[in-house]
């Protein structure tokens, strides 16, 4: 029994009519090669058998250490990297099978917001051109006037003003640039936005503004987010459910409140204990993990977390724990849970 056999780990009891995104058994393996003609030596298993769903209008938080495959997972969903195996079903379409015009139609439905506000905007295009390009490619503005108006409308929606349309990306602050990136994603009226650490490069005060903006937009436009971050405090604030990844696999998936208050997986427990607390009186025990994340080229046998796990037993070394539903809506991949 492995993770990819698990069909549809559902979220809370809240059931919506149709699932927006259904990822099943997704694997992204990168070949490790040496030289020009030599054979593939090994694979980096960046994403290794991941299954989950996202309902319309919901936010699924995705946390994990750097290198655990969370960004690769996000990129695979919008097909910036090619999946090795598994299916990505967006509404009725299997994204992994589409190409050309059909793929372009699906791309309208899901967009991405990037981590680096400096590199995610073409430095040689004005904001109007950047957002306008998104409109042009999907023919969303009939005339030059309509395009102008739409760009200005989008800028207002993300808290910028009309005068900003003529400016180049370098004339903005980090937070403003991130707003431009959000406006570009919104331009095609997507239903799902993959937010790849959208605030981790920003100041804390600006982070809150961007998070609030994302929440407002979600309310007004019934957007669904896959919110990728390494900061649990941020994810807790915005997500309905939280998914924890470790070495390319999901180790825990549950409603946000439950993950924070009653985490079942020792890795999640360690992550939560690392979130700084405001209350100085709090006598919380910090769980310190020893060692580094093992190489995804050659992951440990059994439970991938066992070399660092404070409660590991003998069978954790041999038997890989499946992601199972411990209580309704609360999934964890741990023998001891």
């Amino acid at each position: 029994m492995s993770v990819e056999d698990v069909s549809n780990p559902q979220g809370t009891g809240l059931q919506q009519s149709s699932t927006l995104l259904r990822v099943a058994g997704l694997k992204v393996h990168f070949p490790v090669k040496k030289g020009l003609f030599s054979a593939v030596k090994a694979h980096v298993k960046a994403v290794d058998g991941v299954s989950f769903t996202i309902e319309p209008g919901e936010t699924l938080g995705l946390v994990g250490e750097s290198g655990c495959g969370k960004s690769t997972l996000g990129r695979a969903i919008v097909k910036l990297v090619r999946p090795t195996a598994g299916t990505i079903q967006f509404e009725e379409n299997d994204v992994s099978l589409l190409a050309g015009g059909q793929m372009k139609a699906v791309r309208r439905g899901m967009q991405m917001i990037f981590q680096d506000p400096v590199n995610s905007l073409n430095p040689r295009m004005t904001v109007e051109e950047i957002i306008g390009e998104a409109l042009d490619i999907h023919r969303l503005a009939g005339s030059a006037q309509a395009r102008r108006n739409r760009v200005r409308e989008l800028l207002k929606a993300v808290g910028l003003n009309e005068a900003h349309a003529e400016r180049y990306p370098h004339e903005f602050s980090g937070g403003q640039r991130q707003r431009v990136g959000i406006a570009r994603a919104l331009a095609v009226e997507p239903k799902l936005i993959i937010c790849d650490e959208p605030v981790s490069a920003l100041d804390v005060s600006v982070q809150a503004q961007i998070i609030n903006l994302l929440q407002d937009l979600q309310r007004d436009r019934s957007l669904a987010y896959l919110f990728i971050a390494h900061d649990l405090a941020v994810v807790k604030h915005i997500s309905r459910r939280i998914m924890v990844m470790y070495l390319g696999k999901i180790v825990e998936l549950a409603p946000a409140q439950i993950v924070i208050e009653r985490p079942l997986h020792p890795y999640t427990q360690a992550l939560i204990s690392a979130v700084p607390e405001v209350d100085p009186e709090s006598k919380r025990q910090r769980i310190l993990l020893s060692g580094d994340v093992p190489s995804p080229i050659n992951p440990p046998s059994g439970c991938p977390f066992h070399p660092r796990c404070p409660v590991a037993e003998a069978r954790c070394k041999v038997e890989r724990p499946a992601l199972r539903e411990i209580s309704p809506g609360h999934w964890a991949a741990c023998h001891l849970a």
Binding site: M103, N119, S120, N122, H170
Partner: protein
């Protein structure tokens, strides 16, 4: 602190910016106009090119008309830049030589730009095995000694100016391809390229709208460096007897001849060399200005 009228000017300028959408090229032209040195460089090259190509109609002496009794004379009212050992008017020879030097310089650079940019962008963008094979091909061509390549070409085909363009262009594009490929490799990992892909842009549009404009700065700077090196190559080939032959002239041959006679008749070296260096200066100023003008981040106003 700017004075009040200065401030008004800025305000007016800002208003103007808000009112009209500006394209990259129009913006660039605005910025180029503010760079006096670049304008001067561009203007000088334009004037020189006009003078060179119109020289047969300017009513000056022909470049091949000899006056053996006159011999080498210093600049005078009749011969502004003096005459050479055979009594030929130096100005006519410089202007005539400019036709060849400028056309070799610009044409061979254009050829190398065209091949190099397309080849390098493709290699960098496609990546993987295609990239590796394409770049090994470049390495192989690099390894061929240039002189031997040109001599072979000249032996197989007839000696002609067109062949000279092609031979030089065929060598100069290699470096261009390498530079562009390196730039494209770093650029295509940037998130704005991924964003364009996620929006559903076609590969061709990504290459022309997002990749090449961001490599322009490097391309332009390298092109301004290529023009002089091409002119020097032409001089070198002419010296070996593969390029321009007397009585035709190019700046390379003139400088070469002038260098031999510089102790007795210094103007024979001084004038062609001044034209050559002024042209190179102008090209560099113009190229620098163009690079800054095309980069929105470079403008400090």
């Amino acid at each position: 602190m700017p004075e009040a009228p200065e401030l008004e000017k800025y305000a007016a300028h800002a208003m103007e910016d808000i009112e009209q959408g500006t394209s990259l090229w129009r913006d660039a032209w605005h910025r180029l106009q503010k760079n006096k040195l670049a304008l001067f460089g561009g203007g000088f090259i334009l004037l020189l090119a006009l003078a060179c190509f119109l020289s047969p109609f300017l009513g000056i002496q022909s470049y091949e008309e000899q006056n053996l009794t006159l011999g080498a004379t210093p600049p005078s009212a009749e011969h502004w830049l003096g005459t050479d050992l055979l009594g030929r008017d130096l100005m006519a020879r410089i202007l005539y030589g400019g036709r060849i030097s400028l056309s070799v310089g610009l044409a061979a650079t254009a050829v190398s730009l065209l091949i190099g940019v397309i080849y390098g962008t493709l290699a960098g963008f496609l990546g993987g095995k295609t990239d590796a094979l394409m770049m090994r091909f470049v390495d192989i061509l690099y390894a061929l000694p240039f002189t031997i390549l040109v001599i072979l070409l000249m032996v197989i085909f007839e000696r002609s100016l067109l062949l000279l363009f092609m031979a030089i262009g065929a060598v100069e594009w290699l470096t261009m391809a390498r530079i562009v490929r390196g730039q494209v490799l770093t650029l295509r990992r940037q998130e704005f390229i991924e964003a364009a892909e996620a929006l559903g842009l076609r590969k061709r549009r990504i290459v022309f709208r997002h990749l090449i404009p961001n490599v322009l700065g490097v391309i332009i700077v390298y092109a301004t460096l290529t023009v002089p090196s091409v002119m020097l190559l032409e001089a070198f080939l002419s010296f070996l007897g593969f390029g321009v032959q007397a009585p035709m002239s190019s700046w390379g041959t003139l400088i070469n001849d002038g260098a031999k006679a510089m102790e007795e008749y210094p103007w024979l070296l001084l004038f062609p060399a001044s034209f050559f260096s002024l042209t190179l200066f102008s090209l560099n100023f113009f190229g620098d200005g163009l690079r800054d003008a095309l980069d929105p981040r470079a403008s400090k106003d």
